[in-house]
């Protein structure tokens, strides 16, 4: 960071899950937003309600970033475990604020010698002076704001804003705790306005919001006319249910918490068949349970948007950890051959756009569209431009109404058309009686195994994906377009790739980057990008190189592609990728 102002600042607050310690982060978050920084926030929790190591990460930066940085500048560790786990991640000249109430770590922690450590028994003092452990957070915030050279009154202002809805008594106690923080900082020689860091002047960035990918996709769905959502709670997809639950009814829509994922997707299917744009969301285990119905949507030609917020598998796996290991299932799962579309947002704004596209394209091509987000894209909150809802168009697709029907000589639900898409009358429409089935059928919807008809219907269904292909989101590109080495990655890798390649460029290594947003069908541009490089590194969060495999299956030259994989539940940091690429460059 520059001496004049913080331009890129990474802070982590860590402790035991459920003890409220993560609220410090929301305070720092507000502070940074006031100073016009872009935020990227991420949580790292155990899959349990209370207890277990939990951490909140926050990066504030003057340019938009798509990941957490390499090192922490500031760590607030509320217990020894937090110090053990996160201490080594604090970078040179960083500061650790350690709650020493409950003793030292049991093992030696390798901490950079230039790191300063402040031991303050927040917890103990809070209990002693304020009667509740909980106040340690505001206490800690007091120290942190001093370190950030924030004037005390501004810190108090932020705190008051945050605790606006608390009873006056509790609010006052928090302010008291904050002031104890100032005092303690003072005792450690940190004067007001004289901290290690200092924010620059607030800059205008236009209208921004803080959103996650789950929220972006859910909002995009609403904006494109989605009015029926079903879900069954599962980490990390539950946010979508939580976001839409209290909102969709304001638009006349319906949210149902189903009894399981089969019910969830089949209710959505029913609503969609009845003409209402519908969506469901789940994560790996739930998406696995939906496989039969997903094929049915493809066969019976029923639109549906399906969010897969991917967590680490296999099976129950590591529910709160990010992975990109459902790609194979999304692209190849389900029995038989049927059309499907798989889109992968790269950030929350993108999730909004893709939410819109998915909803419209499902309606247009009458089939399933997946929005695949790894847990980081799904749940990390990022400052992004305000979603441009005014420019969203709601595509009607080939729905025919009674008037149009009355002008037709005949109406066949599964009419074989040049573009593969059949006109569609929804129940309730006069003149459009139809049969919908997951058996092979003739144009009228009557079950048929007649071989020629079968081929016509199969071909029709395959054809319609081509029809909408031009509407699917293009890849992001970056780096040096002429470089002979390419890098491909989706979702959470995108922010990391961009930052890593930026750094590598500075040190003279150039790479062309290609970050697909349409996974399936694999667009021509993807194959072309790969075919025109000497080497392409496919960066993925899974063990088997699923994206690479999907690309190979679609015809990308397998010998050019090399995997850079990670499957330990931890995101790459830019430095990891810089190291991995440099190492390979030295071998190559």
């Amino acid at each position: 960071m520059s001496p004049n102002g913080v331009t890129d600042f990474n802070v982590m607050v860590a402790g035991q899950g459920g003890d409220g310690s993560l609220t410090v982060v929301t305070l720092v978050d507000r502070l940074m937003r006031r100073h016009g920084l872009h935020l990227y926030t991420s949580r790292n929790v155990a899959s349990r309600i209370k207890g277990g190591h939990a951490a909140a990460l926050l990066r504030g930066s003057d340019v938009r970033r798509g990941c957490i940085g390499d090192h922490l500048d500031l760590l607030v560790a509320f217990d020894a475990e937090a110090l053990e786990i996160a201490g080594p991640r604090v970078g040179p000249e960083g500061i650790i604020v350690f709650d020493s109430s409950h003793g030292e770590p049991r093992t030696e922690v390798a901490i950079d010698p230039t790191v300063q450590r402040l031991d303050i028994p927040f917890g103990r003092l809070s209990v002693r002076d304020l009667r509740r452990d909980l106040f340690k957070n505001s206490f800690g915030f007091g120290v942190v704001t001093r370190l950030l050279s924030v004037p005390d009154d501004e810190a108090e202002d932020v705190l008051s804003e945050r605790f606006n809805r608390l009873p006056p008594r509790a609010k006052a106690a928090n302010i008291e705790a904050l002031r104890r923080g100032f005092e303690y900082a003072e005792e450690h020689g940190i004067e007001q306005g004289q901290g290690r860091w200092r924010f620059g002047r607030a800059q205008a960035h236009g209208e921004h919001i803080l959103a996650s990918g789950n929220q972006g996709a859910a909002f995009g769905f609403l904006a494109a006319g989605g009015r029926f959502f079903t879900g069954y709670p599962i980490t990390p997809a539950t946010d979508v249910l939580d976001y839409l639950g209290p909102r969709i009814n304001k638009l006349g829509g319906v949210v149902v918490q189903a009894e399981d994922e089969m019910s969830s997707i089949n209710m959505a299917l029913g609503a969609s068949m009845a003409g209402v744009r519908a969506m469901t969301a789940s994560s790996g285990p739930g998406i696995a349970l939906m496989q039969e119905t997903i094929g049915h949507l493809g066969s019976a030609e029923i639109p549906l948007v399906i969010i897969d917020a991917m967590r680490a598998g296999p099976s129950t796996g590591m529910p709160t950890k990010p992975e990109q290991s459902d790609l194979d299932m999304l692209v190849f799962g389900g029995n038989g051959d049927f059309p499907r579309i798989v889109l992968a947002p790269t950030n929350p704004y993108d999730a909004f756009e893709i939410g819109v596209i998915a909803t419209n394209v499902a309606q247009l091509y009458q089939g399933p569209v997946f929005i695949a987000m790894d847990q980081a894209i799904a749940q990390d909150s990022v400052t992004v431009r305000r979603f441009d809802v005014d420019s969203v168009e709601v595509e009607p697709g080939k729905v025919v109404d009674a008037e149009t029907l009355s002008g037709l000589e005949e109406y066949r639900r599964y009419a074989v058309t040049a573009d593969g898409i059949s006109p569609w009358a929804t129940p309730g429409t006069k003149g459009g009686l139809s049969l919908v089935t997951g058996n092979e059928r003739d144009e009228w919807g009557l079950v048929s195994t007649e071989p020629d008809n079968r081929v016509e219907q199969m071909d029709k269904r395959e054809r319609k994906v081509k029809t909408v292909e031009s509407l699917l989101p293009a890849a992001l590109r970056g780096g040096d377009p002429d470089a002979e080495i390419g890098i491909v990655g989706i979702g959470m890798e995108v922010g990391v790739i961009i930052e890593a390649v930026e750094r590598l460029a500075k040190s003279g290594s150039s790479y062309a980057t290609f970050m697909p947003r349409t996974i399936w069908p694999v667009p021509d541009e993807t194959i072309e990008f790969i075919s025109s490089r000497r080497i392409v590194y496919v960066v993925e969060h899974n063990a088997e190189g699923q994206l690479k495999r999907v690309l190979a299956a679609a015809g990308a030259p397998p010998d050019r592609m090399h995997s850079i994989l990670r499957y330990d539940g931890v995101p790459f940091r830019p430095a990891d990728l810089v190291a991995a690429l440099s190492e390979r460059a030295s071998v190559a």
Binding site: R33, L39, H208, I209, L210, F219, A223, G225, G226, R227, F228, R247, N249, K250, L251, G252, G253, V254, V256, A258, E259, D260, M262, S263, N266, M267, L269, G270, A271, S272, M273, A274, G275, V276, R277, A278, T293, R386, V389, D390, V394, S406, E409, E410, Y411, R412, T426, P427, G428, G431, G432, L433, S434, L435, V436, G438, N439, G445, L446, V447
Partner: protein
């Protein structure tokens, strides 16, 4: 008139009970004045699961066991439709059992007709969960008592294809219950499979018509349960209107059921902007 599909001819074996169910449904739909295009018949998979091909209505052939969630989606999406779900006892009581219990609980306004024949007709005669005890199996599931055990249930009836008139009037009552927005109308029909398990003789002997019993009170849940239990102990099967009550329906709980859930209301965009304001940075 636009030509659409013409309802097909049933593909059932001669004598199959399902003919009777279809006849009752067609007549009931006419009686309640459900316009074909405002009616949707959703069916499961099985011999029973071909009924939608033969009725003049929008038809849907669900996945095995999933007809109730699909029908619930349709009913919530367009409350103006007459929604009739239908299927076999394998479809409804085996793979579909979880959904059946939850549909009783949620009480969406739609009719569900289960054609019970104690067998899986289409897959050639395996036992269905409704099949009674034998040396290798415990007693069968009694969907009527099951329905009574769910506190949210609102309409439970059982017909028998041998009693065509009663079956028709029960079907009418079921569709009327659902169309009045009173919730989930469950009608089990004893519909023998003459090919794999001809229960006509057995059911002829066992059927006991509660509609004919002046002492029977279909508003008394516990009484209904006790009667069903007693009859079962006597190897008899109650038919007729078993129970009807006044639980609020699912759509009613979701607010006025008088509009289709389509986008484009004039304020939609304002509402969306409101959501964004709440996320502002």
């Amino acid at each position: 008139m636009t030509e659409t599909y013409t309802p097909g001819k049933p593909i059932w074996c001669a004598g199959c009970g399902h003919f009777g169910v279809q006849g009752a449904l067609v007549r009931a739909l006419e009686k309640v004045g459900a316009e074909p295009h405002e009616t949707m018949v959703l069916a499961g998979i099985g011999c029973s699961g071909t009924i939608q091909n033969n009725v003049s209505a929008y038809g849907y052939h669900a996945l095995h066991g999933r007809v109730l969630p699909a029908a619930t989606g349709v009913a919530l999406a367009n409350p103006d439709l007459t929604v009739v779900a239908a299927g076999g006892d394998g479809d409804g009581y085996a793979i579909g059992m979880g959904h059946l219990v939850h549909t009783f609980k949620r009480n969406p306004s739609l009719t569900y007709i289960v054609m019970t024949n104690e067998t899986y007709g289409l897959t050639k005669g395996q036992r269905s969960p409704a099949a009674g005890p034998d040396p290798a199996h415990n007693e069968g599931i009694d969907s009527v008592r099951l329905g009574l055990s769910i506190p949210g249930s609102s309409f439970i009836a059982r017909g028998f294809t041998r009693q065509a008139e009663q079956l028709e009037s029960l079907t009418v009552a079921a569709v009327e219950h659902a169309n009045a927005g009173r919730g989930f109308a469950f009608l089990e029909v004893l519909s023998p499979c003459v090919t794999y398990k001809d229960l006509y003789p057995q059911w002829d002997a066992a059927a006991y018509d509660v509609d004919e019993d002046p002492a029977y009170d279909p508003m008394d849940r516990a009484g209904a349960f006790a009667t069903c239990q007693r009859l079962d102990d006597e190897d008899r099967i109650p038919i007729g209107l078993i129970y009807t009550g006044n639980n609020e329906s699912m759509e009613a709980r979701w607010g006025p059921g008088d509009r289709r859930l389509n986008p484009g209301g004039p304020d939609d965009r304002d509402v969306l902007h409101g959501f964004l304001d709440g996320m502002a940075s």
